[in-house]
């Protein structure tokens, strides 16, 4: 199945893109997706320790199973305000 990944701010600059589709197998969790991406994309490795995930515009836990069409935001600690 396919999910859409989005990145912002420093992560977006670091990766050189802001969103893309990713094919994942049924039952993949948010944590497994992060591990896969960190393994593949060297540009986000410095952020591995602090990456969090939001699914469909809400914070999500690592054990959350992804669904077809999910909008998955890969987020580093926020600094707004």
């Amino acid at each position: 199945m396919t999910v859409n990944i989005r990145v912002f701010a420093r992560l977006r600059e670091q990766m050189g893109r802001s969103s893309w589709n990713e094919s994942v197998s049924e039952g993949t969790t948010a944590s497994q997706l992060i591990d896969m991406l960190v393994h593949r994309e060297s540009s986000i490795r410095p952020f591995a320790r602090v990456l969090r995930v939001a699914i469909n515009d809400e914070w999500a836990q690592g054990d959350r199973e992804l669904q077809e069409g999910d909008d998955v935001a890969l987020l580093i600690p926020v600094s707004g305000g």
Partner: protein, 142 residues
């Protein structure tokens, strides 16, 4: 309780926020404005820029406002965050709470800005006077 949430590139209007809050006809209004600081330590800032996960930021601000409404006896809450360039002395964020009394207004406003800085997906980039730029809040990288 009524809630006003917005993310916008335009200058934040204190007047619009005040009018929304004052319509509650309560006794007290507390407002916090986060503004672009000129000097931090020994570095001089020219401007800040903000980038948001917009849809999520709106949802997250609304969640915080509802949470504050459950914890304090307040009448109206407004939260507006600006994105893009914010020059020195202008506001990047306005938080406002109207209540019958001042205690809950102050406490909820403080809660909302504290929580916003932890959970609302917005990122700040410093543009220093020497031409360099730096994403903020990255103590975790060191």
């Amino acid at each position: 309780m009524k809630i006003l949430i917005d993310i916008q590139e335009a200058t934040l209007s204190l007047d619009t926020l005040w009018k929304f809050l004052a319509e509650s006809e309560g006794g007290g209004i507390a407002i916090f404005g986060g503004t672009t600081r000129r000097v931090t330590g020994d570095r001089v800032t020219e401007q800040l820029s903000y980038e948001a996960h917009e849809a999520m930021a709106r949802k997250e601000m609304a969640r915080l406002a509802k949470l504050a409404g459950e914890r304090w006896d307040v009448l109206r809450i407004g939260m507006i965050h600006r994105t893009g360039i914010v020059p020195v002395s202008e506001a990047s964020v306005l938080i406002g709470v109207a209540s019958a009394h001042r205690g809950p207004a102050f406490e909820a406003a403080r809660f909302l800005i504290d929580e916003l800085k932890v959970s609302v997906p917005v990122w700040k980039k410093e543009h220093f006077a020497d031409g360099s730029t730096e994403w903020q809040g990255e103590d975790w990288l060191r």
